[in-house]
């Protein structure tokens, strides 16, 4: 992401990039249906937000990550075990689609990807509403589909016996269970908690998971204020006043994108964050943009071991170096999640037993993907829930610190919680698991 200080100097580059992006999109659309399905390449549908408010913080970093990883895979330049060409020796041909427009449009786009563009697999989807709408269609069309980011806990509740649908991102309940465990570990004495969430399913579910978990883990806490402003409202003057009047010690928020950044700026300027600690479950996505406008000590998460929370390993070092070299910024968590999903797909496809140099069948990839444990830019992922279709990994939280010399946001006091500590087991919903006080949780 560009900071304001570089805007003027990068204007010409943005203009060229924008025109180039439009040209590429136009040519891709024109060429898409004309290309033969069996062109000898592995056609990979990539769906993420390229327009709208989610594009800047999530969609564009994800699309950038897909480009970096696909280019490197096609060149065979990734570290082992991903140092073979493309997928199963077949060059990957990405087909990039904008996720904007709502679930109905996305279902049409998905059918188009499968039936006309003849993709071999799809990786994508940030919006939970889109994932819930796409999952049954993916099963109907028998198309291997990897959800890389959407967090809805209902994904495998509504689809109890998935065959072709996988999720390499974590369940949203993990974000808030992890947040509570972090709070209990680092600020065990806090008692006054407030929350501000966007008023739609994401915000309401996040607040419910967080408050229910607090009741179990930190029973002395009380919720002193809760606010649910409209999504993309952008201005939070009255909400900040209401939060200030309630005098909380911690303000939890599942805000994302421009709403999150605006809230941090305004709450910090108003002094709310002098008196209360902000806990932002999606906070890492703006770590390069807060600069000195966010207080040191603000707790941020990355919805799993992604972005700044990704562990050091050869794959992650390669990814960070290559991504930073291409886009002059470090990858934030959406970028890492996209890279992670593509690597998971490659891993499964190459374990599917197809003849090298051929495109494996969806059935075979799905069989190999279910229950797989694969190395990734985010450490080791295990598809250990929902009959092997849901990834289980650790989640980390840490405190934001601004390094004024390097003019860069960094993390301190990072703590991670194992996947089995924060992920509901199969056969129970996250709500039931939390209310039953996390039976079977294995915490480090």
């Amino acid at each position: 992401m560009k900071t304001v200080s570089t805007h003027a100097t990068t204007f010409a580059r943005r203009l060229s990039a924008g025109v180039a992006a439009l040209a590429i999109t136009a040519s891709a659309l024109a060429a898409g249906t004309a290309q033969a399905a069996e062109n000898g390449k592995f056609r990979l549908g990539i769906v993420t937000f390229l327009s709208g408010p989610a594009a800047g913080p999530f969609g564009v970093p994800s699309a950038n990550a897909a480009k970096v990883v696909v280019d490197a895979l096609n060149a065979g330049k990734l570290p082992a075990p991903y140092n073979t060409i493309g997928i199963n020796g077949v060059e990957i041909e990405p087909v990039l689609i904008d996720e904007a427009g709502g679930a109905t449009k996305q279902v049409e786009e998905f059918r188009n990807l499968v039936e006309r563009q003849k993709v071999d697999a799809v990786v994508g989807y940030i919006s939970s509403g889109d994932c819930l709408a796409i999952a049954p269609v993916a099963e109907e069309l028998k198309t291997l589909t990897v959800f890389y980011d959407c967090g809805t806990s209902r994904l495998f509740v509504d689809n109890k016996n998935p065959q072709y649908v996988f999720r390499t991102g974590l369940d949203a309940a993990v974000d808030n269970i992890g947040a509570v465990r972090y709070l209990a570990a680092t600020h065990p004495d806090v008692t006054r908690i407030a929350g501000i969430q966007q008023n739609y399913a994401w915000g309401q579910d996040s607040w419910n998971d967080f408050t229910q978990s607090l009741k179990q883990v930190m029973p002395k806490t009380q919720m002193v204020q809760e606010q649910f402003p409209k999504v993309f409202q952008g201005q939070y003057g009255a909400e900040i006043s209401a939060l200030s009047v309630a005098r909380p010690q911690v303000v939890h928020s599942s805000f994302w994108g421009g709403d999150m950044e605006a809230f941090v700026l305004q709450a910090n300027a108003r002094g709310l964050l002098d008196d209360a600690i902000a806990l932002l479950t999606c906070g890492e996505s703006a770590i390069d943009r807060y600069k000195d406008q966010a207080p040191n000590g603000m707790i941020i998460g990355a919805r799993g071991p992604f972005g700044a929370f990704a562990p050091e390993n050869e794959l992650n070092t390669w990814f960070k170096t290559t991504y930073s070299g291409a886009f002059t910024m470090a990858p934030t968590y959406p970028a890492t999640k996209m890279a992670h999903a593509i690597l998971g797909l490659k891993y499964a496809a190459e374990k599917a037993g197809a003849k090298p140099g051929s495109v494996p069948a969806s059935d075979a990839i799905a069989k190999a993907f279910a229950g797989a444990t694969f190395p990734s830019v985010s450490g080791t992922a295990t598809m250990a829930r929902a009959n092997g279709h849901q990834n289980v990994q650790e989640i980390g939280y840490g405190e934001y610190v601004y390094d004024s010399k390097a003019e860069k946001g960094t993390l301190r006091n990072v703590k991670t919680f194992s996947g089995d500590c924060v992920t509901p087991p199969d056969g129970t919903t996250s709500d039931e698991w939390i209310k039953a006080d996390f039976p079977g949780a294995k915490c480090n």
Binding site: L15, G18, G56, E226, A238, S241, K291
Partner: protein, 299 residues
């Protein structure tokens, strides 16, 4: 007591912002009878232009807060005049006299086009131009810490509202515009250059839109889509106050702002609904809005 004070001050700040956003929309409708959907784009262009300008000004880490405020206003004026001129001279002047619904569709198309133009020019990454917002610090009132910049918006809204009122009521140009508002055919018959009045009005309205965006930019993350979000609110305020009425826009903004602030403090679950609830109630009692005129239908 602190909550009551917070409702009052938060309501006043939000009302000021709403008025700045809605004023241009109501001016254009009042004179031209165009329900300008592209007003949200003017707001967004103002915000992006200001964010770019502030980014450039503070690029080396130093800069004067007061100069940055001046830059915000200069930027808004320049953006409003340039974009307003291009749209009015390049498109709308060929459409004058058409059905109001057609004008809504045309300006809606403009909104969509301008959204894409902004993506080409500024990209989709967020812009963060906070320096003017934080430069003035904060003040403590009744135990509540308030941003000085937010409080300053109240003053700006009063000045803009007063200037608009004085322009329309106290100047010759304003009198001519009121004649056009009253009956454009008679005004034209009396020698008024209605097309010229339309151009002036559209530029004033566009500039008010870009001014609102430029003054808001330092407090928010400037991202694609902010114009679309704003236009819905602006319509609600203008409809409450009465389409085409400056006093109505002010009253509508104040009513909506105070009701919303009260909901946030005392019944947050109704916050999402309160703006449109107020609009529904007002329209149920006065379909023409608080300050709207009931017009005889021409047959």
């Amino acid at each position: 007591m602190q909550s009551l004070f917070a409702v009052f001050i938060d309501g006043a700040i939000y009302a000021s912002w709403l008025f700045l956003v809605a004023a241009g929309l109501t001016v254009i409708y009042g004179v031209m009878r165009i329900l300008n959907m592209a007003h949200g784009s003017f707001y967004a262009i103002g915000a992006y232009s200001a964010a770019s300008m502030i980014g450039w000004y503070f690029a080396d880490g130093s800069g004067n807060a007061w100069v940055s405020f001046l830059l915000l206003i200069v930027c808004a004026l320049a953006a409003g005049l340039v974009v307003g001129t291009i749209i009015e001279r390049g498109l709308l002047r060929y459409m004058y006299g058409r059905d109001e619904i057609l004008m809504v569709i045309i300006t809606y198309a403009l909104l969509l086009i301008l959204e894409d133009v902004m993506k080409i020019v500024w990209g989709v990454s967020p812009y963060f131009a906070y320096q003017p917002y934080t430069a003035l610090g904060r003040v403590s009132m009744m135990g509540l810490k308030m941003s000085t910049y937010d409080l300053m918006l109240i003053g700006v809204a009063i000045v803009v509202g007063g200037a608009l009122y004085a322009w329309l009521e106290r100047t010759t140009l304003g009198k001519i515009l009121r004649a056009v508002i009253h009956d454009r055919e008679v005004a034209s018959a009396m020698g008024v250059n209605v097309a010229k009045m339309f151009t002036i009005t559209f530029l004033v309205g566009a500039t008010l839109g870009t001014l609102a965006g430029a003054l808001t930019a330092p407090a928010i993350s400037v991202v694609p889509g902010i114009g679309v979000e704003v236009i819905v609110l602006a319509f609600a305020v203008v409809v409450v106050g009465g389409l085409g009425s400056i006093e109505g826009a002010a009253a509508g903004a104040l009513l909506v702002g105070l009701c919303r602030a009260a909901a946030v403090h005392y019944a947050p679950e109704f916050e999402l609904f309160v703006i449109y609830g107020v609009m529904s109630l007002v329209l149920a009692v006065r379909p023409q809005g608080l300050f709207g005129r009931t017009l005889a239908r021409k047959i």
